[in-house]
């Protein structure tokens, strides 16, 4: 339908709209009008994505000055989903706006790594992302192409004299046909308007003989909607190459952004293991060799590099070919625009410098005790021990990338370790605040096995987000679970113009959250550290699952607080015979840390649910399954959260981060921990509801959920359904509640409850005339 939203014509591809979608649009539009950032929470299953897309594209249509819509998703499947919904929207819009040139057609595309886009028959077969990247560079690096071009021209001239003998030599330098095709087409290589998913791009590339990856990168400048991964926006290394040229007026959307602070932190953190350092040492040896060889063969090249560095031409454009790899890991604003200091300008000197730095790191790693240092202390020590100063460190990364390019190295995947070390060096050199350097000689859980890790951990999520907030006019952060919503502006350090949490209007109570605090024997249940090992608690948890599997049909998902606890409790359950009892009702599948195994388990879990056998999936909060897998419809009729999924509070990194949060943002440790735990729990239980027609039980099995500081951090759309009578239950009462709930939900239900939870075009027009749905409410707030 097409309706008027405070003067903006919105094209919405469905006949009816939920009231919360309307409110969401209203809030979003006001934020866009105010040219500010906003933070919006709306439960999953209410069509958040289509609402966003529909409003922003309509806004683009009405306000030409608004730039692209940059839609950031977490995973490739999510990306495909967004593009599919967009395609539907565009299809619908075409009815009103017509087709053909001049009718405001939209170009939308998904951008992903080469691994997902490559169509070169051999390179695309490579296993990892790095090896595909390296394989691509081997075929497309500028010097490789130059050399091939030289060969070809020489081949044709020589071929005339010697007669075809050099034909094989030309063939030795392999190039990528698709890349060449794209290069030949040059600026002519354009995508016609439309919506392109990754596979569409690949098909298009195959048809035209153009490389889809470079085509997509090229077309980003012309696209109205770009969908890509978080990293492309947040990780400075990637966003440097991909997102640098986006204009300020763009609207940036982070979907499913409840973990955005962790993504930010990961983007700026570096972990070095012993193996990494060893491999980096080997890399250095290789580099030294190639420097020596280059010195013998073509000293001029190294000299040219040296001259360039002296002249301060470090900027990307000045380098040959402007290859798009090895971007600086620090944020653009913090990258110093100075010439590289003299002591590392010569390649040999730089090698020496790296050797010393590496030796220092190795030395640090040999320490048998856990240490935690601030960057300043670390730098001071570095200065004293090996005479490396902070300024030099800052340039480490740029210098390395310059060297690698000069040496014309294409198999970059082999040099990842040394790049990591250089990453580390540059970040330490650049940031004095907001980081910690933590050295752990062994894993906490296995103290007898030495496994030293040197971590440069970013403590401040706002660092990585800052450039995004300052560069772009409107940033939209949205998710199904952003509660407590006022904490996000604090940890990300920004001022949103709109903060809003929306509720789901339901025609029936299809959520049934319950808090179970006691077992059938009235003993309290909790995963508190002192209680979790208690056999009584474990048995009660086991009984809960047994009883539940007897009354809940099809799929049940259970989340534990950690892999360790899950292993422990499953072993205990096996001894107690609880697993066998569950098996009488349902099959059991377990998530493991192995991705392949887990995928297989999930697959079989689904099959068991489909065929009516019923199954239980045991999983871990914060695991892959808790984050990305939906257990909608019959795959999840009940979800159990065993315990409160606190982070491992003894972890040094977390300690350092908590301290930093307290000092910088005045967030109390307990508050942050509870917030983080409850958002994980909400994320886990939210897996079962994926649409309004769906229904599911949500069981919080820990006595601590009874307390207000936990409960009020749950998203509103859950707490609203949490009845007083459903709190502080024991297992047997819970079973009773479950039985009643499932019976009630199995009754036929009227999908077309128009009026209460759906608004038609006419209803919207009436609303608009009356001054908006929540005009009074918004004015009051």
């Amino acid at each position: 339908m097409r309706f008027n939203l405070e003067g903006l014509t919105v094209y919405f591809p469905y006949e009816y709209i939920y009231p919360e979608q309307y409110r969401y649009m209203l809030e979003l539009k006001r934020a866009l009008d105010a040219r500010g950032h906003c933070l919006l929470e709306m439960p999953t299953g209410t069509g958040k994505t289509i609402t966003l897309l529909s409003l922003i594209t309509s806004y683009q249509l009405a306000h030409k000055e608004v730039g692209k819509l940059i839609y950031c998703t977490r995973t490739v499947p999510e990306m495909e989903k967004v593009l599919a919904e967009l395609a539907e929207l565009i299809e619908y819009r075409a009815k009103y706006l017509g087709r053909g040139p001049g009718s405001n057609e939209i170009l939308a595309l998904g951008l992903s790594s080469r691994k997902n886009l490559c169509i070169h028959p051999r390179v695309a077969e490579e296993g990892s992302r790095e090896s595909v990247d390296a394989g691509c560079r081997r075929l497309t690096a500028s010097w490789v192409r130059e050399r091939a071009a030289e060969r070809v021209s020489r081949g044709t001239t020589e071929g005339g004299e010697e007669g075809g003998s050099s034909g094989g030599a030309v063939g030795e330098i392999e190039l990528c046909d698709y890349f060449e095709g794209h290069e030949r087409a040059g600026v002519e290589a354009l995508l016609p308007p439309g919506v392109y998913t990754l596979s569409d791009l690949r098909d298009f590339g195959r048809k035209h003989g153009w490389c889809p990856y470079f085509l997509a990168r090229h077309m980003m400048a012309f696209a109205n909607v770009v969908v890509y991964n978080y990293q492309y926006m947040i990780d400075p290394k990637v966003s440097q190459m991909v997102s640098r040229e986006l204009e300020k007026e763009c609207v940036v959307v982070f979907d499913e952004a409840h973990n955005i602070d962790n993504v930010c932190i990961e983007a700026l953190s570096v972990n070095l293991r012993k193996q990494t350092l060893e491999a980096a040492g080997r890399n250095l040896g290789k580099l030294s060799n190639s420097i020596r060889r280059a010195r013998e063969a073509d000293a001029a090249r190294l000299q040219a590099e040296y001259n360039r560095l002296v002249a301060g031409l470090i900027a990307q454009g000045a380098l040959r070919g402007g290859e798009d790899w090895l971007a600086n890991p620090a944020l653009p604003a913090d990258v110093v625009q100075e010439t590289v200091p003299g002591n590392i300008r010569r390649a040999e000197h730089f090698m020496g410098f790296l050797h010393r730095f590496l030796a220092f790191l190795r030395d640090k790693m040999a320490s048998p005790v856990v240490t935690s240092q601030s960057p300043q202390v670390f730098l001071h020590e570095l200065q004293e021990r090996v005479q490396v100063d902070a300024k030099t460190l800052k340039f480490c990364y740029d210098r390395l990338s310059s060297l690698l390019k000069t040496l014309e190295i294409t198999n970059t995947d082999e040099f990842t370790p040394i790049q990591l070390v250089a990453d580390f060096a540059t970040l330490v050199g650049t940031y004095a605040k907001g980081f910690a350097i933590i050295m752990e000689p062994y894993d906490e859980r296995l103290p007898q096995v030495p496994d030293p890790v040197l971590q440069l951990s970013c403590l401040d999520a706002s660092l990585a987000m800052k450039p995004v907030f300052s560069k772009f006019q409107s940033v939209v952060i949205t998710s199904g679970t952003l509660s407590p919503i006022d904490l996000y502006p604090r940890i990300l350090n920004f001022n949103p113009v709109a903060i809003q949490s929306f509720q789901m209007t339901l025609t029936r109570d299809c959520l049934c959250p319950v808090v179970v605090t006691r077992g059938a024997d009235q003993m309290p249940m909790s995963t508190k550290f002192e209680m979790r090992g208690d056999p009584g608690v474990m048995r009660n948890y086991g009984r809960l699952l047994v009883d539940l599997s007897a009354v809940v049909p099809d799929g049940i998902v259970a989340f534990f607080v950690s892999y360790r606890y899950m292993d422990q409790i499953i072993a205990k359950w096996h001894d107690m015979g609880i697993l066998q009892e569950i098996m009488q009702h349902k099959l059991i599948f377990i998530e493991t840390q192995d991705v392949v195994e887990t995928t297989l388990a999930l697959d079989n879990f689904r099959r068991a649910c489909d065929s009516g056998r019923g199954a239980v999936f045991l999983s871990v909060a914060r695991g892959k399954v808790a984050e990305g897998i939906d257990f909608d419809r019959h795959y999840g009729r009940a979800v159990v959260m065993f315990g409160v999924p606190y982070q491992y509070t003894l972890s040094r990194i977390l300690r350092a981060r908590l301290e930093y949060l307290r000092e910088t943002f005045q967030i109390k440790e307990a508050d942050y921990l509870a917030f983080d735990a409850v958002r994980q729990a909400a994320q886990c239980v939210g897996r079962v509801i994926r649409s309004k027609a769906d229904y599911g039980m949500m069981i919080f099995a820990d006595k601590r959920y009874q307390r207000h500081d936990k409960r009020d951090k749950l998203p509103q759309w859950i707490t609203r359904h949490l009845k007083e009578a459903h709190m502080n239950l024991s297992t047997d009462m819970m079973v009773h509640v479950a039985r009643e709930f499932l019976r009630a939900m199995a009754q036929p239900y009227d999908r077309g409850a128009v009026g209460k939870s759906l608004l038609s075009e006419a209803a919207l027009a009436a609303l608009d005339a009356a001054g908006g749905l929540d005009g009074a409410g918004a004015a009051g707030a």
Binding site: V551, G612, H634, R739, L742, R743
Partner: protein, 341 residues
């Protein structure tokens, strides 16, 4: 009869409750569909046991459904086995009949040897309509099977709701076009002999000495009750009300309309033109009910409620009591039966 049937959320427990309701369902079923046949099977221990063969006699079936004789519930339920059994039983039936399977499912899972959906496909291929009445919660596979085969799926909230759901299945669903293939079936309409004790003869297969009995019009064998198949010549023996009761779902009596002055005048014109049928059958003039011959009020009389109804086809007048009787029990309009059209 899986393990789940021993749960006590229905009083006294699920099994007893279900058995009781099944007995009333069977009676109701034969009452509504005297021509139909029904067999019972139970799912237990992952197997399916055939309790009774398809037959048309309610009492024999009801007698089998006794908790004491059945044993206790145990093991898992297997829908696939149940579906396979019903396919093998119902496949041989003539195509003009409805083939239906009603599953009363108390378990929440089905433990199958293969893929249950394959069996569901087999059911669909054989035009078997599978309906499920659950007592615990919605099970996906049941929903799927019922949707595929065109059946219904209900989950009972409590005992009364369960009864409603079960009894809703006693009347047949509207005929589908796939089953509309007409075929002539030979049937006999036997006469009932007098019930005087002196005329008692040996009747039926068991040769019991009974007074009231029916004589097969083809072979003159005597059978004790209708409907049945003649034990001598195999002819289906029924009576007209049976047929009507069975087919009223297919050919319902058109509803009577409230009588008004205009309708009465129109009807009078029609009735006058008709030749008098027989002297002893009076045509109702509007003041007497055609069914019970009691006096009813004149339509259109000032100040009076219109308490009479008129059949749209034969234009006869009926009172409310007769209307209810005709439509809910008799399923034949007496006016139309007398050729009043």
């Amino acid at each position: 009869m899986s393990r789940a049937a021993s749960a006590q959320d229905l009083r006294p427990n699920r099994l007893a409750c279900i058995l009781g309701l099944c007995r009333s369902f069977i009676r109701e079923f034969f009452d509504q569909n005297p021509l139909s046949q029904l067999g019972i099977a139970i799912m237990r221990n992952g197997l399916v046991e055939k309790l009774t063969d398809l037959s048309g006699s309610p009492e024999a079936q009801v007698a089998k459904l006794d908790a004491g004789k059945l044993g206790s519930p145990a093991g898992d339920a297997s829908l696939q086995n149940a579906l396979d059994l019903s396919v093998s039983l119902l496949r041989s039936l003539p195509p003009y009949g409805h083939r239906e399977l009603l599953v009363v499912f108390s378990a929440l899972a089905t433990c199958d040897p293969g893929n249950v959906l394959d069996s569901a496909k087999a059911c669909k291929a054989n035009n078997i309509r599978v309906s499920v009445v659950g007592v615990a919660a919605e099970v996906y596979v049941c929903r799927r099977i019922t949707e595929e085969t065109g059946g219904t799926y209900g989950v009972a909230l409590n005992e009364t709701h369960l009864e409603q759901l079960l009894l809703a299945h006693s009347s047949p669903p509207p005929a589908t076009s796939a089953q509309a293939k007409a075929e002539l079936v030979r049937m006999g309409f036997p006469q009932r002999s007098t019930e005087e004790a002196s005329s008692a003869v040996f009747v039926g297969l068991e040769a019991r000495l009974l007074s009231g009995n029916y004589t097969c019009p083809r072979c003159k064998a005597r059978v004790p009750e209708l409907p049945c198949e003649c034990h001598i010549c195999g002819l289906t023996l029924i009576s007209s009300p049976h047929l009507a009761r069975s087919y009223h779902h297919l050919f319902p009596v058109p509803p009577y309309h409230e009588d008004s002055k205009e309708r009465a005048e129109e009807a009078a014109g029609v009735l006058i033109r008709q030749p008098a049928m027989r002297d002893e059958v009076p045509t109702s003039t509007g003041s007497y009910c055609f069914g019970c011959l009691r006096e009813v009020s004149q339509p259109g009389a000032a100040g009076q409620l219109h308490l009479t109804l008129r059949c749209g086809r034969c234009k006869q007048v009926f009172c409310f009591e007769c209307d209810a009787y005709v439509h809910e029990q008799l399923h034949n309009c007496p006016g139309c039966e007398f050729g009043g059209t």
